[in-house]
């Protein structure tokens, strides 16, 4: 086991992350690592892997001093689409009817 999986949701291994980190020369943000490897983009939205990711980026010595990390884009908890659609205030009536 010298290539453990770091992000279980997205199946991203340590080696993939190291390859990604080796590519650039300058500072690197967690967001870049996420965008390039998909780590942290899984169903748990990084709750499991984020601390490991942050530690990995830091260990390269190229982490940003004030990295905001992965911004959680709402919704924070998985929600089915039908429930989301019900949020609609009656504004355009768009959620239920075709306005044509």
């Amino acid at each position: 086991m010298n290539n453990p999986t770091i992000c279980r949701c997205e199946d991203v291994t340590l080696r993939q992350l190291e390859d990604c980190l080796a590519a650039g020369g300058t500072e690197v943000s967690l967001r870049e690592v996420k965008l390039q490897t998909r780590a942290g983009m899984g169903i748990c939205q990084g709750r499991t892997c984020l601390p490991l990711l942050a530690a990995l980026v830091d260990s390269t010595g190229r982490g940003l001093p004030q990295d905001a990390g992965l911004v959680r884009n709402q919704p924070v908890r998985p929600l089915v689409l039908a429930d989301l659609a019900r949020f609609a205030s009656n504004g355009g009536g768009e959620a239920t009817r075709c306005s044509g």
């Binding site: 997205e10 019900r86 949020f87 768009e94 075709c98």
Partner: protein, 390 residues
């Protein structure tokens, strides 16, 4: 911090700036690519993955998209990267008789322009795309529409630029442009200045602000778009899908009739290699305000469920909001700034920057080499003699 020099400085490492840096570096030019955050920090990291041809107006718009589409055939080999390019076609779902009339006419014009596109009736459409609702009256389908992973594209262009010798500076904001006798002489960054006779503003939705640094007017404004992203599910969508409501609204608005739906809602639906569904989307002017409220997300969800009912039970894990660089006529600006020598604008690709990234690199290279052509003629900055409509 020694004095850096370059033949060209490219500002912005989205798909557009990275594509330009790659093409200029490939010619042996000494290029510095400067990016405020990282590649994919802007629109290129918050967008869909469609290379749509059939949504384009016949004419220059369509020809540009076609030329760029052809370049994708060899791009993976050129960039030595897997871009998850898929030639799996695209579809526009039609829900109402009015939209059917509109699309019939639109498809005919596109066929005249040489695009492989056909109009399917409801049953044919559902045969190709079984997830479509029974009320869908038909769909246009083109086998030429394709998909690419925009993040893979951005990363591959960025790395190819570096491989060809471009120096990349990320997490480094451009803060000023120096000029003398009406010509660019240097670019100021948070990490020192770079002497250069040529600067290329590829800052996408931020191109207006970057223009201001040099007193150059760049008529680009941000048009916000939100997409919902689902958990990974079994394959359920073939290729990419749009809805006729939005296409009709867009093209009718361009000729001054028809109205755009609330929040500019129109379906965009696709599925990534990993199985996540990308469910869009909205088109709004809200400055650079990042959060779009629950009303917008609800409207996107409701609209999508109406066309693809099976989506109702699918779980959304996050949303993504990006800013399209909007010019007003759906076309980018690729031109020399009239106000300042050595200043090139390459921005404003609105909802087509992924599709148009390959050709943009080539067009900027041509422009810098002093060449012209029908595309560059159509993409000048002075075509906006009047202010862009709100």
């Amino acid at each position: 911090m020694g004095i850096k020099t370059a033949d060209a400085v490219v500002i912005g490492a989205g798909v557009i700036g990275s594509s330009i840096a790659f093409r200029l570096a490939e010619q042996g030019r000494k290029v510095v690519l400067v990016e405020k955050a990282g590649p994919g920090a802007g629109a290129s990291g918050s967008c869909d993955k469609a290379i749509f041809l059939q949504s384009k107006r016949p004419g220059i718009h369509m020809e540009l998209a076609l030329a760029s589409r052809r370049m994708y055939d060899t791009l993976e080999a050129e960039l030595e990267a897997d871009l998850e390019l898929k030639n799996d076609g695209g579809m526009v779902a039609i829900e109402t008789p009015e939209h059917l009339d509109f699309m019939r006419d639109f498809v005919r014009k596109q066929r005249d322009a040489g695009i492989a596109v056909e109009l399917l009736d409801g049953n044919e459409a559902r045969r190709r795309q079984p997830c479509l609702s029974p009320h869908v009256l038909g769909a246009s389908f083109s086998p030429d529409d394709a998909e690419v992973n925009p993040l893979a594209l951005n990363t591959a262009l960025f790395r190819a630029a570096a491989r060809h010798g471009a120096q990349t500076m990320t997490h480094c904001e451009v803060t000023g442009i120096r000029a003398s006798a009406g010509r660019v002489t240097a670019v100021e960054t948070r990490r020192g200045s770079i002497s250069t006779p040529l600067v290329i503003n590829a800052a996408g939705p931020f191109a207006g602000q970057v223009g201001q640094l040099a007193g150059v007017h760049v008529p680009v404004k941000p048009r916000r778009g939100t997409i919902l992203i689902s958990e990974a599910v079994e394959p359920m969508v073939n290729g990419s899908m749009l809805c006729a409501q939005y296409i009709a609204a867009k093209h009718l608005a361009a000729v001054g009739s028809g109205n755009v739906p609330p929040y500019g809602i129109g379906l965009s639906l696709g599925q990534t290699e990993s199985g996540n569904l990308l469910i869009g989307g909205s088109r709004e002017f809200a400055g650079f305000e990042k959060a779009s409220g629950p009303d917008v997300m609800a409207a996107i969800a409701g609209h999508a469920i109406r066309i693809v009912p099976a989506l109702a039970k699918i779980r959304i894990i996050r949303s993504m909001t990006g800013f399209r660089p909007y010019t007003g006529d759906g076309l980018p600006i690729i031109d020399r700034a009239p106000e300042l020598g050595g200043y090139v604008i390459a921005a404003g690709h609105e909802g087509d920057g992924i599709a148009l990234a390959p050709i943009t690199g080539i067009l900027v290279r041509d422009l810098v080499d002093g060449k012209t052509g029908p595309f560059l003629h159509a993409l000048t900055v002075n075509r906006f003699a009047v202010p862009i409509p709100a």
